[in-house]
């Protein structure tokens, strides 16, 4: 097996042996259970005259609640990726664990890419697994499924990869705690930047709107999150948002349009830049 895959396997093995995966699975099952109960309650809501809500309204309510629940999942994924990636390299440099491995015929780029691949696989599996369980639960409870479930998984997973990539870059130079904290703050700032951009759209203020655009370019986590929101919105909601004009675009928990192809292309470039930066940074680091 090439060294890059050995390192990737080792990263996955570590997460499994250290019971990180088990903790995430148990927590996810608890959240899925509670949210299934919550979603089921929507179907029992009645109007003031005692009649049940029509299916359109159930779907609308469910979609909104699903967006909030998914925001929590994406947060868990982003935070976990940042916390795990932060010390991914730095802790092994500090402890000396990498010394004997780097004395083998292993390139530092292989260590960086291997660790990224291993953690990316975990992020992907978690995003797909948790989305599958949650959507099955929502479907069972309400009969509603978001219009683009596959895109939803891809956007939420990619958001996790953004934090993973940022954490990995920081991990090549900074201590685990510092890198993790910076990644978390960056994630929150990225989200706030997006919200500020929304407010700018609502106010029709180009300068404020540009804050959102720039923050989406610098750290695409919020831009991808907007894609995830779009993937969860039923057509009726989208139609209402479009009709509302700029006001409809001012809500941080709604997205009128999917991310553009150009933006998604930039995200791919951004990932490449982050990996290149991490490799360069680690290659030039003295151990």
């Amino acid at each position: 097996m090439p060294p890059v895959l050995v390192i990737a396997r080792l990263t996955i093995q570590e997460a499994a042996r250290r019971r990180l995966l088990l903790a995430l699975v148990v927590l996810t099952l608890i959240v899925v259970g509670f949210s299934a109960w919550g979603f089921h309650k929507i179907t029992t809501v009645t109007r003031s005259d005692g009649s049940p809500l029509p299916p359109v309204e159930v779907a609308l309510l469910t979609s909104q609640l699903l967006i909030v629940v998914t925001f929590m999942y994406s947060g868990v994924l982003a935070l976990s990726a940042a916390v795990v990636a932060g010390p991914l390299i730095s802790s092994e440099v500090e402890s000396g664990l990498l010394l004997s491995m780097l004395a083998r015929p292993v390139r530092r780029s292989e260590v960086v890419i291997g660790k990224w691949l291993g953690l990316a696989a975990l992020v992907g599996v978690y995003a797909a697994g948790s989305a599958f369980l949650e959507l099955v639960a929502v479907d069972w409870a309400t009969g509603y499924l978001p219009p683009h479930p596959v895109q939803l998984v891809l956007y939420v997973g990619s958001e996790g990869l953004v934090l993973l990539s940022l954490g990995l870059v920081l991990s090549t130079r900074l201590s685990g705690i510092t890198g993790g904290v910076i990644a978390l703050v960056a994630w929150l700032m990225g989200w706030i930047g997006g919200v500020v951009g929304n407010i700018g759209t609502g106010l029709q203020n180009q300068a404020v709107e540009n804050v959102g655009v720039i923050s989406h370019l610098v750290l695409p986590s919020d831009g991808l999150w907007r894609g995830a929101i779009y993937a969860m919105e039923p057509d009726t909601l989208l139609a209402a948002l479009r009709q509302a004009g700029t006001v409809g675009r001012a809500n941080p928990f709604s997205a009128v349009d999917p991310p553009s192809v150009a933006y998604l292309a930039w995200v791919v470039v951004w990932f490449g830049l982050m990996l290149a930066l991490a490799i360069w940074s680690f290659r030039t680091r003295e151990i």
């Binding site: 042996r17 004997s100 004395a103 015929p105």
Partner: protein, 321 residues
Amino acid sequence: MADVAEVTRAAAPGGGAAAGSPAIKTVDLSKSFGHTAAVAGLTMTVPRGEVFGFLGPNGAGKTTSVKLLLGLLKPTSGQAWLLGRPIGDLQTRRRIGYLPELFRYQAWLSAREVLALHCELAPLPRSSWNDEISTALETVGLTDRAGDRVGTFSKGMQQRLGLGAALLGEPELVFLDEPTSALDPVGRHDVRQIIRGLASRGTAVFLNSHLLSEVEQVCDRVAVVDHGRVIASGTMDELLRGTAVRVRVTGLAQADKNKLAGFGKVDDEADQLTFTNLSADRVPDLVSQIVAMGGRVYEVVPRHQTLEDRFLQLLDEEEDK
């Protein structure tokens, strides 16, 4: 003080026919961290198949030198070759074993899995892994704990495991950085046996240590470093040529003792005066002078210089410069 033949200023590269090249060759290898010179013009040659002791006080640049040779640090200037290839060459690392001073292995893996990981990274043919791992475990005395998680190991056991990992694949050159720092006397004895075993099968061992007795027992050749440069180097015989003389004497004032400096460097401890590098034919003159000064001589013991004597002497001389 580069007083021994093996410390060369050769400008010739260490390349050429890899098989005939020395295990390690460095020419003016230097490394600075900011304004601090950790290694300052290290020039040395380590022949193949020998156990080479690399000695020095704390902060002398020993571990930095090892890291430079292994490509973990980038030299500020100078050149070095391992097994005939420039340092940093990826393929050469297939033929090298390394036990770091800061030894740490994946706590969540078993000892066997850690060794398998190193077999894979080395990389060794998969068909040989079982034999390699079993041999390594047996050599370092961990066969009974092969299936246990490394996280449950004592420091000494982790160091043994690291040594086992360094021995995988019968490397041509093994770097051992303070290999017995966490070991008990039995473990230290075992490591000496292992090092001798390596030398007997033709493996060059670069032993980085400040345990002088250990080095004295196993090394064919040593280099003493201080402030990042070699101050002496050679075979053990070459380095320990001098004879020390210990005299047990009373009745001498400090001024009298100072007058004896002409017989060489004096180490004054209570009623014992130790003269380093004093040849046997000057001993009668020494005793006569002590007696003439009113000293009462109880014992005169000539003895061969130990590595510790020589080491301290070299560092003193270096400090006096």
